[in-house]
Amino acid sequence: MSPKFHWSKTTLLFGGLAVWGLLLVSCISVDRTVVVPPHIAGAKYVGSKACAQCHGDQVDHFAGSTHSRLALTGADPKVGDTGCEACHGPGSLHVAAGGGPGSIINPRKSPETCFQCHLEKRGEMSLPHTHPVLAGRVSCVDCHDVHKGNSVRGGGAALAASTETCIRCHTQQAGPFVYQHGAIREEGCTACHNPHGSVNDKMLVARDANLCLRCHLADLAPGFNLGGYSSGGAHANALGSRLSEGACWSAGCHEDVHGSNVNASLRP
């Protein structure tokens, strides 16, 4: 029979003592900054001008980017509050090495630098349904162009449409559809999906009929009827209503929820 472990004051005391002992030994004997991303141990800030020598395209267009709005006049670039090193970390070792992957923070390799400001994205990307960013299969910059224009590609007065980021990979949803879901025309994919992560399957912002009923109102004021959702309509079947049963877009009903070329009701 194995002895059962119990936390006690003595355990905590000597455990704590051991930890502090290790700390003391480490601090006295080790001359090194612990390697914790997204920091570059031993590097100093050098300012954005040094970056422009090799990364001219990124530096040239940064002034018009969304992130540049946070740039401050009068801020000391050496403290890294603004400019390239705010995200890429202090660049002295990178400059000294003439480039290379180990001496600078590359957000393509790790999202940690993005999480420093976008705190909530760390949590969203930890959820069960997300793009595999933390697993290293895709990165933030696969979808976001942080050096130029709007960080969220497309939309507004940009040449690209707001959906172009998503349909590069999700071609089946690209269309074109003569019967296109109005939500995509108006808001793009993010009307229904949170690409950073969700507690719901398919990264949906809601996983039941509420998702659709936001816009496709079931019942209006007395005397009004939109599409037969109320009693007697197609969506009020023998068991009351199919709306309660989860998902309007399930296969068999509005299966082609992104759009169709043969059916205005987004069926096949």
Binding site: L13, L23, L24, S26, C27, V30, R32, T33, V35, A41, G42, G64, A71, L72, A97, G100, G102, F115, Q116, L119, E120, R122, G123, P128, P132, A157, A158, L159, A161, P176, V178, Q180, G182, R185, E186, E187, V199, L211, R214, L220, N225, G228, A234, A236, A238, L243, S244, E245, A247, S250, A251, G252, E255, N261, V262, N263, A264, S265, R267, P268
Partner: protein, 736 residues
């Protein structure tokens, strides 16, 4: 005596433990050190090999889906990077990865010559795993797993890029990319699948004899075979104060997707076909050509102009069939009923876009961007399908299909979208940046649908999908959209220790559809249908560094949205605006970084999210016969908490220790909904803890070892996808 010694030891320990963080010596020694003699090296070229071994108990498929790695582990080359100067001007870079098990592969080579250009070729592939959950029925405690299904989807990409880039001349690039997505993933379908003999039906209705062929959600497997090729060439020239880039793209998509029906628990055999039912199939072929020209002219340091033009022509071919499984009470078996066979469509798209941005600094402290985008696109299509039904007399023994009629559609729609955008930034106050952004997307759309397989209700309420309309019916609709987005924000550093950021936004989107139909055999009616929403929100951030080694980063986000629908009255004219939905989001995130010594780093993160969506649909009936049972459509709650902690510690001159923990909780599971159907809301717990060591063996060799334990429980699947267990990871990095 022993007691006294123990007391002395405790007292000494307590004093030392409390005093340790206050001792200035070590910090001073570290702070004044001129260089980090013991720093881990960074390698210019290296190879990292690793292996991962999970020992998971429970649902291993759920683990694989969550961890993006198989339950039986993976090993191989995790990272390979080689950079080599082949000559004084030519550099070669190689990137690689080959992880067997997780099927994660990368191989690329880039050769560049200074002031001339580069060539690059590469291949990348990775795998996404799926848990194969087919449904859980809480009141009967039944769980449907897609058994024997190794569900995963592989994404791969093969590319080739050649560039000529000279500092004082034009630059050219040519690229080819071939992307493939293949595999099988879990999905669901709606079908007439309830088995009157099954004890598992709809939760509260367990044991109740249901009408045959009552629709419900059933599990199915989605099969994907998608191919995408892109050939792109571009040229950039600079003249006067202008840089011009011309890009031409050829794009091919060839997708063959389908669905396979999966039986419900306790359901009888599938008679026709014998084992499985191949459900829907969907094929898509598109070919497109796009040409883009973008110019950027910097007139001086104050004014620049960007102009873009784009034209896209696309043709496509769609095909497939739409099948609904049916249950026969007499045969006590499932059959396929083809609802729509021989689906075909031939869409074409022409899309013209022009945009311009004038960027200028009206004063030394001002920056302004004024942009305008104009898009015109036209989609046309001729398509249709054959209505096919299963003969009712044939359900007992075999499937005899009866073709009822053929439906054809000829439709087209156009959109004319104009979007003005203005951005202003003011930097006149030291350490303060104020910015504002406004855009308005205005669309004048025109939709002309012939035989859209949907009627327009005679009381003028919009599109109704109850019955196919007669051949020859035409539906016209003007789709007018006015979508305004506005933002106002600021970034302020009041002191070197404090950064404050705030941004408020408003979205006001209105969509109005005014339609009329020429419904064969009846009169024409006008219809108006308007949807819209407004969202107001704010993001507040504060970064506070009371000490150089301590920072608190707080972010709060709030969104409140209201959706509404307006229809015309029975007698015409604008009707009531009715609220249809209400969304509320509150999200607070906190990160604390503390580095009491440079040898120690501690980070804590927490996200608390309250996210709910409420719609106005009051209640639905889940039992049609007396006594009627009504169940409300409850709010869609999407609340969760995520917390994580990380501690790094330089153990000795050659070793780092890292401890990491993650905790997640969502508590939205609501079995009350089970009486109406599924899903029931996300409810889960996840915890993991990892302890890792990173060790420098020599200046050229570093190793990393981690052990961890994780535990996952899911309320939504009744605990049937729970898993837990330890896992181990080992890697070795060698400088090349």
């Amino acid at each position: 005596m022993q007691t006294n010694f123990s007391s002395l030891l405790r007292s000494t320990g307590l004093i030392l433990a409390c005093a340790a963080p206050l001792l200035p010596g070590s910090r001073l020694a570290a702070a004044t050190a001129p260089a980090e003699a013991d720093a881990f090296p960074t390698y210019e070229s290296y190879i990292k090999v690793s292996g991962e071994a999970p020992f998971i108990s429970g649902d291993t498929a759920a683990f694989a889906a969550r961890a993006v790695t198989p339950h039986n582990g993976s090993y191989g080359i995790e990272d390979l990077y080689i950079t080599k100067d082949l000559t004084k001007e030519i550099t070669m870079k190689v990137n690689g990865r080959a992880m067997d098990g997780s099927e994660d592969y990368l191989g690329s080579i880039n050769i560049s010559k200074d002031d001339f250009g580069s060539v690059e070729a590469g291949y990348k592939r990775y795998r996404i795993f799926y848990d194969g959950v087919g449904g859980f029925f809480p009141l009967a405690n039944q769980f449907q797993r897609m058994s024997n299904e190794n569900l995963h989807v592989d994404r791969s990409s093969l590319w080739f890029v050649a560039k000529i880039e000279k500092a004082d001349g034009p630059s050219f690039s040519l690229s080819y990319r071939n992307e493939i997505r293949t595999g099988r993933k879990d999905s669901s379908e709606w079908g007439a699948i309830v088995n009157a003999d099954a004890t598992v039906t709809k939760g509260a209705l367990v044991g109740t004899a249901l009408p045959a062929n009552t629709p419900f959600i059933a599990p199915n497997v989605q099969t994907l075979d998608e191919h995408h090729e892109i050939l792109e060439g571009s040229a950039t020239v600079s003249f006067w104060k202008t840089t011009d880039t011309l890009k031409a793209t050829l794009d091919w998509v060839g997708n063959d997707d389908g669905r396979v029906y999966v039986k419900y628990p306790n359901s009888k055999v599938i008679v026709d076909p014998a084992a499985t039912i191949i459900d829907d199939s969907e094929t898509t072929r598109t070919r497109s050509f796009r040409v883009i020209n973008q110019t950027e002219t910097k007139f001086n340091d104050v004014v620049s102009l960007e102009v873009g033009l784009s034209y896209l022509h696309l043709t496509g071919e769609d095909g497939g069939q739409w099948i609904t499984p049916a249950y026969s009470t007499s045969a006590k078996a499932f059959f396929t009923t083809v609802t729509a066979g021989n689906i075909y469509a031939n869409p074409t798209l022409d899309d013209y876009v022009a945009n311009a941005f004038l960027k200028f600094t009206p004063g030394k402290d001002w920056r302004a961007d004024i942009g305008f985008r104009d898009e015109f696109n036209a989609v046309s299509d001729s398509g249709g399908f054959t209505n096919v039904a299963l003969s009712s007399t044939a359900k007992n023994t075999s499937s005899t299909y009866v073709t009822t009629n053929q439906d054809v559609t000829y439709s087209h729609e156009t959109d004319h979208i104009q979007t003005p955008e203005v951005t202003l930034q003011y930097l006149g106050i030291r350490n303060l940046s104020i910015y504002a952004e406004y855009s308005d997307r205005i669309n004048k759309g025109d939709q002309h649908w012939v035989n859209p397989f949907a009627a327009v209700s005679t009381n003028g309420a919009g599109v109704v999908t109850t019955v196919p309309i007669p051949v020859g019916s035409v539906f016209f609709q003007n789709a007018n959209q006015d979508n305004e987005d506005a933002k106002l924000g600021a970034n302020w550093n009041p002191t070197t220790k404090l950064t404050l950021r705030a941004e408020v936004f408003r979205k006001d989107h209105q969509n109005r559809f005014i339609g009329a139909n020429d419904y064969v055999g009846t009169a024409s009616f006008g219809a108006l249908y308007a949807t819209g929403y407004t969202f107001n929100g704010a993001t507040l951030s504060a970064i506070y560094r009371p000490l150089p080694e301590l920072s608190f980063n707080t972010r709060y986000q709030q969104q409140d949205g209201k959706m509404s629908v307006t229809a015309n009255t029975v007698t015409g004219g604008l009707g009531y605006e009715s609220p249809s939905g209400k969304a509320t989001i509150r999200m607070i995130s906190e990160t604390v970084d503390w580095a009491p010594y440079k040898q120690v780093y501690v980070q804590g993160n927490v996200n608390v999210v309250y996210n709910t969506l409420q719609t106005s649909y009051p209640a639905v009936l889940v039992k049609a016969t007396a006594p009627f049972v009504a169940v409300p459509i409850v709010n869609a709650d999407n609340n969760y908490i995520v917390g994580s902690a990380l501690c790094g510690f330089a153990l000795d001159k050659r070793t780092d220790l890292q401890v990491q923990g993650l905790w997640e909780r969502a508590n939205n599971y609501n079995p009350q909904v089970a009486s109406g159907g599924q899903p029931y809301g996300a409810g889960f717990n996840f915890q993991s803890v990892t302890v890792g060591l990173k060790h420098k063996f020599t200046d050229r060799i570093m190793g990393e070892a981690k052990v961890g334990y994780l535990r996952s429980t899911s309320d939504t699947t009744g605990g049937f996808t729970n898993y837990n267990g330890p896992l181990a990871y080992l890697s070795l990095t060698y400088a090349l």
